[in-house]
C-alpha cells in the first residue's frame, strides 16, 4: 500500500505499478469497503479483473450469489409487513446484503440508513421501514437533492421525527433540527432560530393511507427567515435552502470519506474540497462514490485497514468467506440477534445520529460476542447432518495439509497480511492440533472437523480481522 501520494493525484484513479501493485490485499480491501466481504472465488476473480474491472463490476452489480433464493427473500419481506415484525425486516435486509446481486448498492444503502438513521423502535411499522429502505436503495447512487426531498416526506421518517404531529401554531421542531444538524449541514452551520422558523414550514405534513399528504389547513403559511432567506417557505423550500448552503456538500462528502476511506483521520478541508465541489454540481452521489472507490487515496495505506469493521461487515464478511447460507430453513444463520448483541441491529439504530462507529464498536463485551459468534459460524449448522462450514469450505477448495489449511484461512480472511510471527504461530498450531487429545467416542470425521474449526476460528480471532 502506498504511504505517500502527490496531493494533486489523491483523487485520480489508481493505476497499479511496481511499487504499488494490484494484489490479493487490495481485492480484499475493495470487497470489504464496497461490498460485504469476499468468498474465495471472489478473491481469485478480483485478482484477474484488476482495479478498474473489479470496481466496474461492483458498480454495475450482477447476478445474485448462488445461495440466493428469490422465494426466501420474498417470504421474509412479506412476513415483515404482514406481521409488522421489525426483526423479520432486518433479516430480510441482511439476506439481501449477503446473497443479493448488488452488494455495493446495499452497502451504500446502509450508509444512508446510518445517515437518515430511523428506528423501528419508535416507528413501530415494519412496512414503513421497508418503504424507507426502498427509497434509500433507489436513491443510493442517485441524486442527493432528490433523495433529501423524498426522505423529508417518507412516512417512517415523518413518524420517527414527529413531522406528523407538527401543526400550525404548534410546530414540532424535531425534524427541522435533525434536517440541519444531521442530514444536511452539520452542527455550527445553522442557529436555533433557523430551526424554530424552519419547523413552521413542515407544519401540516401528514400521512394518509400510508402516504405523504399536505394538509393546508394545518400549514403555517406565514413568512419565515431561515439561513438568511426570507419568504413564505414551504417544507420543500427549507430542504432546498439547506441544499444551497456550501456546508451541505462538504458535510456529506466528509461522511462518505469516513465510510469509504478512513475513520482514523479527520480529513483536512482542502482534501475534501475538490470532491465537495464536484458533488455540489448536481449532487450526483453515484459519481462521488465512484470517484472515491477508484482513487489513489482509496488504494493507499491511508485507507487500508483504517476503520474498525462494523458488526454487519464483520458478520457478513465471515458468512461470505465461509460460503454460509442464510435463509428461512433451520440450517440458516440467525444473524439478526447476533448483530443486535454486537450493537448494529439494522432498522434499529440507537439514535437519529446513527451508529457512532469506529472505536465505539469494540469493547470487552462486543469483542467477546464477535469472537464467540465466529466460533459458532465455523461449526456445523444447527440441526443438519452437514459438515462444519469451516471444514466444508476448506474441502471445497482442495485444502488438506496443515500448511495448506493455515495458508488458506489466512488468505481467505486476511489476504495473508499478518506479521510473520503470527503466521508462524498459526502454522505451528495447525501442526500441534493433530496431536490434541480428543474424546474416545469421536469419529474420524469429528476429529478432522474439530481441528479445522479450531484453526479457522483462531484466524478469525486475530486482531487484524477486526479491521476494515
Amino acid at each position: 500500500m502506498a504511504k505517500t501520494i502527490e496531493p494533486q493525484r489523491v483523487w485520480e484513479p489508481y493505476v497499479p505499478d511496481a511499487t504499488n501493485p494490484w494484489d490479493l490485499k487490495k481485492v480484499g480491501h475493495v470487497y470489504r469497503r464496497a461490498a460485504f466481504g469476499a468468498s474465495w472465488a471472489d478473491l481469485q476473480e478480483g485478482v484477474k479483473l484488476g482495479p478498474q474491472g473489479l470496481v466496474d463490476k461492483l458498480l454495475k452489480g450482477g447476478e445474485a450469489s448462488p445461495l440466493y433464493d428469490a422465494e426466501t427473500e420474498a417470504f421474509l419481506n412479506s412476513a415483515a409487513k404482514k406481521f409488522n415484525d421489525g426483526a423479520q425486516a432486518a433479516g430480510w435486509w441482511l439476506y439481501r446484503m449477503l446473497h443479493g446481486g448488488h452488494p455495493l448498492r446495499e452497502k451504500i444503502t446502509l450508509f444512508w440508513h446510518n445517515h437518515f438513521a430511523t428506528s423501528n423502535a419508535k416507528v413501530l411499522n415494519a412496512g414503513y421501514m421497508v418503504g424507507q429502505y426502498d427509497l434509500m436503495y433507489r436513491c443510493a447512487l442517485g441524486n442527493f437533492a432528490e433523495h433529501l426531498q423524498a426522505m423529508s416526506k417518507d412516512p417512517a421518517m415523518m413518524v420517527w421525527l414527529d413531522t406528523v404531529l407538527s401543526k400550525k401554531g404548534q410546530p414540532n421542531e424535531n425534524y427541522a433540527r435533525e434536517l440541519m444538524e444531521l442530514f444536511s449541514l452539520g452542527i455550527g452551520n445553522y442557529t436555533e432560530k433557523d430551526i424554530r422558523e424552519g419547523a413552521r414550514a413542515f407544519t401540516g405534513w401528514e400521512i394518509q393511507n400510508g402516504k405523504f399528504q399536505n394538509n393546508t389547513a394545518q400549514f403555517d403559511s406565514g413568512e419565515k427567515t431561515v439561513l438568511g432567506k426570507t419568504g413564505n417557505w414551504k417544507g420543500e423550500d427549507i430542504v432546498r435552502i439547506c441544499l444551497e448552503q456550501r456546508a451541505c456538500p462538504r458535510f456529506i462528502v466528509g461522511k462518505l470519506y469516513r465510510f469509504l476511506i478512513s475513520e482514523a483521520e479527520t480529513p483536512p478541508a482542502d482534501l475534501i474540497e475538490p470532491l465537495a465541489k464536484q458533488f455540489a454540481n448536481g449532487y450526483d452521489f453515484g459519481k462521488l462514490v465512484e470517484t472515491v472507490l477508484r482513487s489513489n487515496l482509496f488504494f493507499s495505506a491511508h485507507a487500508y485497514r483504517s476503520r474498525i469493521k462494523a458488526p454487519v461487515d464483520h458478520v457478513l464478511g465471515m458468512a461470505r468467506a465461509l460460503e454460509a447460507r442464510m435463509g428461512t430453513q433451520n440450517n440458516a444463520l440467525n444473524l439478526t440477534t447476533s448483530l443486535e448483541n454486537m450493537g448494529q441491529n439494522v432498522f434499529h439504530p440507537p439514535s437519529v445520529k446513527g451508529w457512532d462507529g469506529g472505536q465505539t464498536w469494540l469493547n470487552g463485551q462486543t469483542l467477546l460476542f464477535r469472537q464467540n459468534l465466529a466460533l459458532d459460524m465455523c461449526r456445523r449448522p444447527a440441526g443438519y447432518q452437514q459438515p462444519a462450514t469451516a471444514f466444508a469450505v476448506a474441502q471445497a477448495h482442495g485444502m488438506k495439509s496443515d500448511e495448506e489449511l493455515a495458508g488458506f484461512f489466512l488468505d481467505l480472511f486476511l489476504q495473508g497480511d499478518v506479521p510473520e510471527e503470527t503466521r508462524k504461530k498459526v502454522c505451528d498450531y495447525a501442526k500441534s492440533a493433530r496431536t490434541q487429545k480428543v474424546p474416545s467416542y469421536w469419529t474420524k470425521q469429528d476429529v478432522a472437523e474439530h481441528r479445522v474449526i479450531s484453526l479457522c476460528h483462531l484466524v478469525m480471532t486475530l486482531p487484524e480481522f477486526q479491521l476494515d
Partner: protein, 403 residues
C-alpha cells in the same frame, strides 16, 4: 498545502497507555491516607438519562401558576406530586426516590446547566461527558478522574451499547460488560488460547487502530478470566424490579460485592426524548421515571443492607432539560436547565439550589443557577479525592451536596 502533505504521511492515533486492566494490577484497594476525601473506598455510580429528561416534570414547582399554564396537557396535578417542601414536589413515579428523603439519602440539585447550552442531543451529551465545551472532545471527565485515582471501573452496558465518551482517557480501557455469563471467550480447543493471547500482545510497532484492537482484546481476555473466577450467584438483599436499568445496577452491586475494589461505574437508560405524547402523572415519561426510581431505590437499599451505604454515591444526569412550554404534540422540545439527583448515605438531603424561575425563561427555556461542572467539582474533590482542576480545568466552585 503543507497541511495536506502532512496528512498524507501516515499519522497515528494517540496511544492510550497501559494495557493491563486496573483490577488485575491490584486485587484489593490500597489504603489511602485516611484523612483524605475519597479515602474510604468511596463508590461513584453515574446514571445517564439519554435523550434529554424533562426536568420540569421531574422536579415540579407545583404551586407555580405558570407551570400549569405552560403545560395544559402534560402538567402533573398538584395533589399527586411527592412533596419535598410546600412548593416543590417530585413526579409521582419517583415515589421510591422520595422515600429516600426520609433516609436522608437523596439530594436534589435544581436548575443545573451551562452557559450557551447546545440543544443538539449529541453535542450537549458530549459536553456533559467531557465536562468541556471545547470544539473537539476526546476525553471524558470520569476517564480523567481515573488517571488520578486509577481504581477499577466498569461500564455496565446493555448488550449493544457503545462505551461512553465520559470514560475515555482512563489509564486502562474501562471494560464494558453486560453480563458475567456472556463475558467469556469460547474456544473449540483451549490450546489455541496461547496463540490468541500472543496475537493480542504482539503490537507496539505503531499506535493506531490495530493497537487499539489489541489493547481491547488483551484487557478483555484478562478481565474475562478474572470475572469467571469471582462470579458466583448473587443474592440481592432486596428485590430488584424487572427492568433493564435495574438489571444493570444489580450487576454493579454484584461487581461491588465481588471484592475486587471496583469503585466507579457508568450505566445509562435511554428514551427520554419525549417530543410527543409524553403523558403527565402517567404515560411514557412517567414510565421512564418509574424505571429510574425503582432501579435506584433497590440498588441503594441492596448496598445499604450490605453495609455500603456510606460508601455509595449515585448521580443522575441528562444532556439537557426540555422546553418549559409543551408543544402541539403533547410533548416537549429540547431545552436546558434541569435537576440532578444524588443518592447515598453522605449526601446533603433535600433540595440544593433554587428552582428555575418560570417567569424568566431564556428563549423559552429554563435558566440554570448551578453549572454542572460545580456538581462534578464537588464529586471529584469531596467524594473521589481528585483535584477538580486537573479534570475540569479549574474555576468551578464545588456546590454543597454532601452532608
Amino acid at each position: 498545502m503543507t497541511n495536506r502533505r502532512e496528512f498524507l504521511k501516515l499519522s497515528s492515533l494517540v496511544g492510550l497507555g497501559a494495557t493491563v486492566p486496573t483490577f488485575l494490577a491490584r486485587t484489593a484497594l490500597a489504603a489511602p491516607d485516611a484523612g483524605k476525601p475519597g479515602a474510604k473506598d468511596s463508590i461513584l455510580v453515574v446514571v445517564q438519562l439519554t435523550g434529554g429528561n424533562d426536568g420540569l416534570n421531574t422536579v415540579i414547582p407545583f404551586k407555580d401558576e405558570l407551570y400549569a399554564k405552560y403545560r395544559p396537557a402534560i402538567k402533573v396535578p398538584a395533589d399527586q406530586v411527592k412533596k419535598v417542601n410546600d412548593s416543590i414536589g417530585l413526579h409521582p413515579s419517583l415515589e421510591g426516590l422520595a422515600g429516600l428523603l426520609e433516609d436522608k439519602a437523596l439530594c436534589v440539585v435544581q436548575g443545573v446547566g451551562y452557559p450557551n447550552p447546545s440543544q443538539s442531543h449529541f453535542r450537549s451529551m458530549d459536553i456533559w461527558q467531557a465536562a468541556s465545551t471545547a470544539e473537539t472532545l476526546t476525553e471524558g471527565w470520569v476517564g480523567k478522574a481515573l488517571k488520578s485515582i486509577n481504581v477499577p471501573a466498569f461500564h455496565v452496558s446493555s448488550n449493544n451499547e457503545a462505551a461512553p465518551l465520559a470514560l475515555n482517557g482512563a489509564p486502562a480501557r474501562v471494560p464494558s460488560i453486560s453480563s458475567i455469563a456472556d463475558f467469556q471467550l469460547k474456544l473449540a480447543d483451549k490450546s489455541g488460547k496461547e496463540v490468541i493471547e500472543s496475537a493480542a500482545k504482539s503490537g507496539g510497532e505503531k499506535p493506531g487502530l490495530l493497537d487499539f484492537v489489541q489493547r481491547t482484546a488483551l484487557n478483555t481476555y484478562a478481565s474475562s478470566q478474572k470475572l469467571q473466577e469471582i462470579a458466583k450467584n448473587y443474592e440481592p438483599k432486596v428485590p430488584y424490579p424487572g427492568t433493564g436499568l435495574a438489571s444493570r445496577l444489580k450487576l454493579c452491586a454484584q461487581l461491588i460485592d465481588a471484592g475486587m475494589g471496583a469503585r466507579v461505574f457508568y450505566v445509562s437508560i435511554e428514551g427520554f426524548d419525549t417530543h410527543a405524547n409524553q403523558g403527565a402523572a402517567q404515560g411514557a415519561h412517567a414510565n421512564l421515571l418509574s424505571e429510574v426510581s425503582g432501579a435506584i431505590t433497590a440498588f441503594y437499599k441492596d448496598l445499604a443492607a450490605r453495609g455500603h451505604k456510606e460508601r455509595l454515591l449515585l448521580m443522575t444526569f441528562s444532556e439537557f432539560g426540555r422546553r418549559a412550554k409543551e408543544n402541539g404534540s403533547k410533548g416537549t422540545d429540547h431545552g436546558s436547565g434541569a435537576p440532578m439527583f444524588l443518592v447515598g448515605g453522605k449526601v446533603k438531603p433535600g433540595l440544593v439550589g433554587t428552582h428555575p424561575n418560570l417567569d424568566k425563561l431564556v428563549d423559552g427555556n429554563l435558566s440554570f443557577g448551578i453549572d454542572f461542572r460545580q456538581v462534578y467539582a464537588a464529586v471529584l474533590e469531596k467524594w473521589l479525592g481528585v483535584s477538580s482542576k486537573d479534570v475540569l480545568g479549574g474555576g468551578f466552585k464545588p456546590v454543597e451536596v454532601f452532608a
